[in-house]
């Protein structure tokens, strides 16, 4: 069916009072979470999951999507006003955004970020709407070897985007290991339960996500000094000259952000980095960058918002997340009994199109909310973290207990929380571990099915062109950053010291 007809049907579902409320709730929460330190959209979605028990999956996913792109807007505030990115996706915005704030142009930086985010979010959603169904249609032809290769690509790509490929891969494999606890999905016998009845159902995704992203993040953040925000916002709307400087940056950021967002696991952070680099490269006077160039805010902000929409393309169409947050959303979809992947567009088309339609609505709400209310959100930065983290801990604990009415789950959360804290402390990424847990059963099932089909020969993965191409991409995802790091280290060693 025509995507525009599907979209109209999506608007009909998204515009019901209940779903509109969920969309509003999602974007407002996302905005707040983006502003508050110590909790990101991944943790927030994990913490909100218990609240969606028994509710409609469509409403819940609309809220989560709103929270995801709302957090991109919120993260900008902290970048501009205190030079501390609320999210990793806003790191590049801080460079010129905070300089603009120090020059008394905080409002313009926030204004252009909101306008750029709105344009990029809307165009990105248009791209999602046009591209995802085509990709899903192509993926309908996938068999077990292709799915295995696709999951392998998702895991390796997510592992490779952090600071260390080795750490990313280790946490990803640890996630697969945790995912193998419980009943063997193929033969139905318990394994790795160590005679503990409560382990027969395996480790719940919510528990791991809350522990790593919620508790681990809180433990790593307590005790860190607070920054002093700039509260003089001033004029929010850019003038004609500022708009002239920023408009092409927004369009470039949108294009590059969306394309990077589609790549499994590349996500909004890389998109904002590339968006910034491109702006600096094409600028007539690159020396303005780092000193309050408006393009240095518009480009990366557009890129990270377009990437948020792009990251939903592989999640909806292939069942492989494009970012940390979509990895948690993928788990949420599975928790609701849905199977993310090509079938989503046929079996759950009303949900997918309602979420896509809600993204247009949510982006408009965010624009309308951000321009006049920027100074109000900025005041939230004055709340000390010591008032924020105890309620987050209480929500983590309540969510863990409420999930299965089990005290054991609370202890499991505590244990994984300690692990999450250590991982955060030493910069070991948590997202590959959650993704490993979520995709573990699919990974193992498709591997075993493929080997059974081929009578035990691994050549089945290489003899089929799509799976071979995906595995090659997975190999490159690991090899390229590893080799680059090696070359850089060799160069550093060859440079004589002072």
């Amino acid at each position: 069916m025509d995507p525009f007809i599907n979209l109209l049907q999506g608007f009909a579902t998204a515009a019901t009072p209940a779903n509109l409320l969920m969309c509003l709730l999602g974007v407002v929460l996302g905005q707040i979470i983006g502003v508050l330190p110590g909790i990101g959209p991944s943790a927030a979605i994990a913490l909100l999951l218990p609240l969606t028990f028994g509710s409609s999956p469509t409403g819940a996913i609309i809220m989560f999507a709103g929270l995801y792109y709302g957090a991109q807007y919120g993260g900008t505030l902290t970048s501009v006003l205190i030079n501390v990115p609320g999210e990793s996706t806003s790191v590049m915005t801080a460079i010129d955004g905070h300089q603009m704030a120090q020059q008394g142009r905080a409002g313009v930086a926030l204004g252009i970020a909101a306008i750029g985010s709105f344009i990029a979010g809307t165009l990105g959603t248009l791209g999602l709407m046009l591209l995802a169904p085509i990709l899903a249609l192509a993926a309908l032809a996938f068999g077990p070897p292709e799915y295995f290769a696709l999951v392998a690509l998702g895991l390796t790509a997510l592992a490779a985007v952090g600071g260390s490929v080795l750490k990313g891969l280790a946490t990803g494999v640890a996630g697969l290991i945790i995912g193998s606890i419980g009943i063997d999905p193929q033969v139905g016998v318990p394994r790795f339960t160590f005679d503990q009845m409560w382990l027969f159902d395996g480790v719940d995704f919510i528990i791991l996500a809350v522990a790593l992203f919620g508790l681990g993040e809180v433990l790593a953040t307590t005790g860190l000094p607070a920054a002093k925000p700039i509260l003089n916002i001033g004029r929010v709307l850019p003038n004609r000259e500022e708009w002239r400087q920023a408009r092409l940056s927004i369009l470039r950021g949108t294009g590059v952000g969306f394309l990077i967002g589609i790549l499994p696991a590349a996500g909004a952070t890389i998109a904002s980095f590339v968006g910034y680099i491109i702006e600096k490269k094409v600028a007539k006077d690159p020396s303005r960058f780092g000193k309050g160039a408006i393009e240095g805010v518009a480009g990366p902000e557009a890129a990270n918002n377009a990437a948020s929409a792009g990251a939903m393309v592989p999640m909806f169409s292939l069942g492989v997340p494009g970012s940390n947050t979509t990895a948690v959303m993928l788990g949420a979809l599975i928790m609701f009994g849905l199977r993310p992947g090509p079938e989503m567009f046929t079996t759950n088309s009303s949900l997918v199109w309602a979420v896509i339609a809600s993204m247009y609505i949510g982006n408009l709400i965010l624009l309308l909310m951000n321009l006049p209310l920027a100074s109000l959100f900025a005041r939230m930065l004055q709340i000390p973290y010591s008032w924020i983290y105890p309620p987050i801990l209480a929500i983590c604990l309540t969510g863990a207990v409420a999930n299965a009415n089990s005290i054991e789950d609370a202890w499991v959360m505590l244990g994984f929380g300690v692990l999450g804290w250590l991982m955060k402390r030493y910069d070991w990424p948590a997202a590959p571990m959650v993704l490993g847990l979520v995709l573990g059963p699919l990974f193992e099932n498709t591997l075993r099915q493929s080997l059974t089909l081929s009578h035990g020969s691994g050549m089945i993965f290489l003899s089929r062109p799509i799976s071979a191409a995906l595995l090659l991409a997975a190999l490159l995802a690991v090899a390229v950053p590893a080799i680059t790091a090696l070359i850089l280290r060799q160069r550093q060693l060859s440079v004589p010291g002072p």
Partner: protein, 149 residues
């Protein structure tokens, strides 16, 4: 403190290696391969092998580093962790409401040294909101104590 190498991180890598070794050892006791098809122990065994390999590479990398970065202090996170553990024990003894309230009050007033009255009000309000959402609205049976909440 600056160490010769990141000893805490080495311990973390060794923890991952231990997890891998546990999986290898446990998978040995499971059916591995039957006819043409891999069985329950096959995939977890290889997970274990890969994790041990990756963790070993991490340890080697870390030991070869000349100097580790300064690490933030661990005192406060440990106090927060202990409070959370107390909260979990409290769930079984005193029930959800009192244990969450006391946990929050302790964190606000004792750990963070925030004003006592404001701490009590915020702790009570947070507990009340959580009870309202989970117990009254979502009807999730949370642990109850002598006070019935």
């Amino acid at each position: 403190m600056h160490g010769r190498f990141g000893q805490g991180e080495v311990i973390l890598a060794l923890l991952f290696a231990a997890l891998g070794l546990l999986w290898i050892a446990t998978a040995f006791g499971m059916p591995f391969w039957q006819g043409f098809a891999p069985q329950s122990g096959f995939v977890p065994f290889w997970y274990g092998v890969i994790l041990v390999g990756l963790s070993a590479a991490m340890v080697i990398n870390l030991v070869r580093q000349k100097e580790a970065a300064a690490e933030p202090p661990i005192g406060k996170p440990l106090v927060v962790l202990a409070t959370l553990a107390g909260g979990i024990i409290g769930l079984q003894v005193a029930g959800f409401g009192p244990s969450i309230f006391l946990m929050l009050l302790f964190l606000f007033a004792v750990v963070e040294k925030l004003p006592a009255i404001r701490s009590t009000v915020v702790a009570a309000a947070t507990t009340g909101i959580l009870l309202l959402i989970f117990k009254a609205w979502l009807r999730i049976p949370l642990p109850t104590g002598p006070l019935g909440i």
